[in-house]
């Protein structure tokens, strides 16, 4: 069954698995973005993608419609992703402040130049 997992997904109604696939895709995109971009802003974007991929997973698992599970009140996943969004905003603010300071010091935001942390 496993080799046909993706193929069978196309024929099934939209469920948790579809969300997971999209989330995983977003996550991979984010990670790749983080690993390849030399621009600090690019890395920030990658982080946003990773977070949103994770958010999708939270929403999918937390949704009673998707899981057809009645025991959940259905809001925990959404609440979690709301927290993540808020935290992402805060993190973005901090990261942008770092990037700004870094630029002021080095006249660039190329993260490969930021190897001061090397041991």
């Amino acid at each position: 069954m496993t080799p046909y997992l993706l193929a069978s997904s196309l024929t099934e109604p939209v469920g948790v698995r579809h969300f997971l696939v999209v989330g995983a895709f977003l996550f991979i995109c984010g990670v790749v973005c983080m690993a390849t971009k030399r621009n600090a802003l690019g890395i920030l974007m990658g982080i946003e993608l990773v977070l949103n991929g994770a958010n999708l997973n939270f929403i999918a698992f937390g949704s009673p419609y998707l899981r057809q599970a009645s025991e959940s009140i259905g809001l925990d996943g959404q609440l979690m992703s709301l927290f993540v969004i808020v935290l992402a905003a805060a993190e973005a603010a901090v990261a942008l402040a770092i990037a700004l300071n870094f630029y002021n010091s080095f006249n660039t935001i190329d993260v490969d130049r930021a190897d001061q942390l090397q041991g």
Partner: protein, 848 residues
């Protein structure tokens, strides 16, 4: 009738309170370096004086109580023959926190020995047997501890002897306290001790310590009163030692003077020698009798625990002294063990003891009795300065004169005589003979030394020893009242004499009588009060008409001595020595006392410079002398000639008669020395004894006075020529019969030699050698461990661990590149690896 114990308890504790107040209020600040001002030091003296005067008033109240017709201590068997038996009142509530309550000695039925109004014949009296116990109050105030049967308590045994002693001690202590406020005045400012020479050729300057003197005086009075009131031998021993330590403090009051500190040590150490014997006596009593109580004690459930006296003098024995069962069992340990080994029970042991007791040839238990009695007497020998332990007392003159007065009259030396009087019922005739012999030797020895002494205080010191010998002699010859009566009268006139000598020393600043003379013009009060004291101690009086206090008491002693010699002289003619020696001693007493008086007060001044500076003492001292001289004159009087009635009891002698211990009346034949008889004291008042005694006593006293007058006042015979004609005797007495030298060669030097030997060989050679080699071994071992164990094993382990940690850190360092994108790659790769590992684990480990 618990009032008398309560009164005496308060009287006893007041000096302790004063001691505590002074100790806390003055000495504690001093300990922290705060100096007490001289104006404040004065209050310490006031507290002390107030305490002892209050104690004196309370004791006097108790004594007047005893003179009342229905007093609680009324003799159950009075001298005049009134066989009154007032029932003792109910147990008091004084000791309600203890299981022991007040219990009166059981009343005896009227015994026929009471009938002494008419002169009974010798046989009648012997047949009459012994007297019943005197009425006494006994009880416990506080239990110090209980170990099995051994019960250590603070208790009391009060009879009229206790009350009399309380009055005497507190009265004389009051006089001495008041006198000392004047005498010790020097101590109220910075004191220059002219007898201490510092290395820089200056005299010692120190702070005055007025309050300290009174602090120790209070402790001294408290300790002595404690001995008087104590209800058991253990408590007596405690206060015995307290008296010793307070005398140590006071004799060594001028501690910076080498002579004073040596004298204090000497007094303390010589007393320890006597106390060793006392401890043996205590152990013997505890082992054989199982109690230390003098009197009977009734505990909460009403069982009566018999004390020492009633165990040794059983009622069914007619109060005759007999060894207790414990003493026989102690001596017959082997037989008792044999019986027990053969399976004998208590009854069998009891039977054995009864058989042994009935074996009249073997005298079972007598030796235990003798050891107990003589052991306790050893302690008394130390305290009362009896030969051969008399050497400390003359040296005790190094203390301030008020201390000498107190030590020599009321407190320290009186304790020994008092204890002999207290334990009298347990002294066997043989032990009494020991007491008498020691007393006899002491009195003649000390009197002879006093003849040649030139230090005014030393003359008095030797006269004290001599008079104590008289007391011991009287007690030993059976004169219980005579001995204790002399103790009381002697206390009055001897304290008077000492305080007078203090007044003289205060005036002329020397102790040497050769520098005095003619002082009666300068200090009349001191001179004539001292004359009264000299007349009293010499025993001057007109027989049957008038006498100074010493006349009455010395008369009683001589009567008893003559009576003793008449009783025993038939079989042992040498026992007349017990008459001859006291008479010679009495002659010597009056000789040296008047020699002292003439050398000090009569004639012309020998040292004009000192004479010019002499002055009468301040009123606070002179008034005390006058009060004491009144007592020295009339302390021996009794009002028995007034006739029956309230006044009949009035007087020291009849007060003491009420306390006459259990079972000592009647002739007491010895057991070990079967020919020895301790005679009945009452019989010594028979006319056949009284007249020769009175006449001979007054004749020898007058002879002594006459001799002194010839040599020292009229100077018909010059003292120097006498000295030359009896040079050997003079040398002997001048050197105090070489006792100090003898003890130096016998004890001090051997001790030093042994100590030096031990120090050199044992201590330095063996013990130091062992310790040094131990130290070397330990050091060597430590070096081995230090190099081998510490440096190689432990240091290496720690170092290696540190190096490896360092290397690991260095190698991990290369991972930290500082490149963000690389870090992201690490995260991703790491995550993937984790996933793989996790899925493999799930597949193989969990899912199987």
């Amino acid at each position: 009738m618990d009032r008398i114990p309560l009164l005496l308890l308060v009287a006893w504790l007041l000096p302790l309170v004063s001691f505590a107040i002074i100790a806390i209020g003055y000495s504690v600040p001093q300990f922290f370096g705060i100096r007490v001002r001289y104006s404040t030091q004065k209050y310490g003296a006031y507290i002390s004086v107030a305490a002892i005067v209050a104690a004196c008033v309370l004791s006097m109240t108790a004594m007047f109580w005893c003179w009342l017709p229905n007093n609680p201590l009324k003799s159950s068997e009075e001298h005049e023959g009134h066989a009154e038996h007032t029932a003792m009142a109910s147990p008091a509530s004084v000791g309600e926190h203890t299981p022991f309550k007040l219990v009166a000695q059981e009343k005896s039925e009227p015994s026929d020995s009471a009938a002494t109004a008419t002169e009974p014949t010798e046989t009648e009296r012997t047949a009459a047997g012994s007297n019943a116990p005197p009425t006494s109050l006994t009880g416990d105030w506080y239990v110090l501890g209980q170990f099995g049967n051994l019960r250590l308590t603070i208790g009391y045994y009060i009879d009229t002897l206790t009350v009399t002693m309380f009055c005497m001690v507190s009265f004389i202590a009051s006089c001495v306290h008041i006198y000392a406020t004047g005498y010790m005045h020097d101590e109220l400012e910075d004191y220059v001790d002219h007898e201490v020479h510092l290395p820089n050729h200056e005299h010692l300057h120190r702070r005055g310590r007025f309050h300290r003197f009174f602090q120790f005086l209070s402790l001294f009075s408290f300790s002595m009163l404690g001995i008087c009131i104590s209800g058991n031998l253990a408590m007596t021993f405690v206060f015995w030692e307290l008296v010793g330590i307070s005398s140590y403090f006071l004799i060594g009051f001028y501690i910076e003077r080498h002579s004073a500190s040596t004298a204090a040590n000497k007094a303390f150490i010589v007393n320890r020698v006597g106390d060793f014997g006392m401890l043996i006596g205590l152990m013997m009593i505890w082992t054989t009798l199982g109690t230390f109580n003098f009197g009977d004690m009734k505990d909460a459930d009403g069982t009566v625990h018999p004390g020492i006296f009633s165990q040794l003098r059983l009622k069914q024995n007619n109060y005759e002294l007999a060894p207790a069962d414990g003493m026989i069992a102690f001596e017959a340990r082997a037989q008792v063990a044999e019986v027990v080994r053969n399976g004998g029970d208590d009854a069998a042991v009891k039977n054995l003891i009864t058989n042994l007791r009935n074996d009249t040839n073997a005298h079972w238990g007598q030796w235990a009795l003798l050891i107990a009695g003589v052991g306790l007497f050893c302690g008394c020998m130390g305290k009362s300065a009896q030969f051969p332990l008399h050497v400390w007392l003359p040296d005790a003159m190094e203390g301030p004169t008020p201390v000498s007065a107190l030590v020599h009259s009321a407190t320290m030396v009186a304790a020994g005589v008092f204890l002999v009087g207290r334990i009298y019922p347990m002294l066997s005739p043989e032990a009494l003979l020991v007491v008498a012999t020691i007393g006899c030797i002491t009195l003649i020895l000390a009197a002879s030394i006093a003849l040649t002494a030139v230090d005014i205080k030393r003359v008095l010191a030797y006269s004290t020893i001599s008079q104590l010998g008289f007391m011991m002699l009287a007690l030993g010859l059976g004169g219980w009242v005579a001995g204790l009566f002399h103790l009381i009268t002697h206390a009055f006139f001897k304290s008077l004499l000492f305080l007078c000598s203090g007044s003289v020393i205060h005036a002329v600043h020397t102790n040497d009588m050769r520098q005095m003379g003619g002082l009666r013009h300068k200090m009349p009060i001191t001179a004539y009060t001292m004359l009264a004291g000299c007349l009293a101690i010499a025993g001057i009086g007109i027989p049957f008409v008038f006498g100074f206090s010493g006349f009455h008491s010395k008369d009683a002693i001589v009567e008893q001595a003559i009576h003793f010699a008449r009783t025993n002289g038939g079989t042992h003619p040498w026992m007349w020595l017990y008459v001859v020696i006291p008479l010679i001693g009495a002659a010597l007493t009056s000789f040296y006392m008047f020699r002292l008086w003439y050398m000090t007060f009569a004639g012309s001044p020998r040292d004009p410079h000192k004479y010019d500076h002499a002055h009468e003492s301040p009123p606070v001292m002179a008034n005390v002398l006058i009060v004491l001289s009144i007592f020295a004159v009339c302390a021996g009087w009794s009002l028995s000639w007034v006739g029956p009635g309230v006044l009949k009891n009035f007087g020291v002698e009849s007060l003491l008669e009420q306390a006459r211990p259990i079972g000592i009346l009647g002739n007491k034949p010895g057991v070990l020395l079967s020919t020895l008889v301790i005679p009945d004291e009452h019989a010594s008042h028979a006319t056949a004894v009284k007249v020769p005694a009175g006449v001979s006593a007054i004749l020898v006293a007058l002879a002594g006075v006459l001799g002194a007058t010839i040599v020292y006042l009229w100077e018909s015979i010059s003292a120097a020529s006498l000295r030359r004609s009896m040079s050997l005797l003079y040398a002997a007495t001048w050197n105090k019969w070489w006792f100090d030298e003898l003890y130096d060669y016998l004890f001090v030097r051997p001790t030093h030699l042994i100590a030096a030997f031990i120090a050199r060989v044992l201590d330095r050679g063996i013990i130091d050698g062992i310790i040094h080699s131990l130290a070397y071994i330990v050091r060597g071992f430590a070096q081995v461990v230090g190099i081998g164990g510490d440096r190689y094993v432990i240091d290496n382990a720690v170092d290696t661990f540190a190096e490896k940690t360092w290397d690991l850190g260095l190698s991990l360092r290369s991972l930290q590149t500082g490149r963000l994108r690389q870090y992201v790659m690490f995260i991703v790769v790491g995550m993937i690896v984790l996933f793989i590992v996790a899925s493999l684990l799930v597949k193989f480990a969990v899912a199987g």
